[in-house]
Symmetry: C2
Amino acid sequence: MNAIDRLKNKGIKKTAHRLMFINILQKSAVALTEEDIKQDMGELYDRITFYRTIQTLLSAGIIHRIVIDNKNVKYALSEIAFRNHQHMHFFCKICHTVACIGEVPSYDYGLPTGYKGEEYEVLIKGICPNCG
Amino acid sequence: MNAIDRLKNKGIKKTAHRLMFINILQKSAVALTEEDIKQDMGELYDRITFYRTIQTLLSAGIIHRIVIDNKNVKYALSEIAFRNHQHMHFFCKICHTVACIGEVPSYDYGLPTGYKGEEYEVLIKGICPNCG
DNA sequence: GTTCAAATGAAACATTGTTTCATTTGCTTT
DNA sequence: AAAGCAAATGAAACAATGTTTCATTTGAAC
């Protein structure tokens, strides 16, 4: 789905800033940091608009925020959302790339009685093929 | 192990601020936010010292930072570290409590060829017994 | 094209992260 | 116990990030 349709689907206005934001994520195979996206935007980047664009796209469900730890926060389009949606994710300790590596195996995780599990996230940290 | 021994073990000075920080975590069954700890500290709290205490205790390995998402960051003593060390963790969507719920099952997670997994983290989000 | 609600971007303010440095504290040696 | 020294503290100040306000501009519906 293209950027225009993504916005139209959610009934929010298609502005230059939002379209560029989505297009940058669309072109990337991996999740991107704010800095990555900012760089790609060049002079269209504006700090306040950027801040609000993230909020808008997040609450519209068009993008997802992926928090590995307090120093590694990334964004991805919801289709290829790395955390949530029962996907497993791999974080490379060297290049800090986040990759989706398939579905969370659905088997018994042994949740104690009383707990109601709704989302299962598996994050594997290690060395990716490029760095290994 | 008590707070004094924890510091002595790592060869760092036992100061009032550090001892109080560790004791607060020690008394808690769940991981705590900065705000939680700050509240417990009362007037001994100091913003800059607190910031540095966290850095010191983290790099000494006495405490661990647990990042659920960008709005939920918690701290726990390393023994009961919730993420890392192959523990599974449960995050309650209602009360935002983080609880350790046992070991990560060691079975084949199906890591694609080329990837070298070193740490496996499982985070289950849902409703805890208190809120369910 | 006109209209109106929504988005923008400038300014300003709030919060959090971090460094600098003079003072104090904890720990070692005597 | 006292002295000496390196480390920790806390005040000040600065940097980076998060957020609101408001006048202006833009997108989309008519």
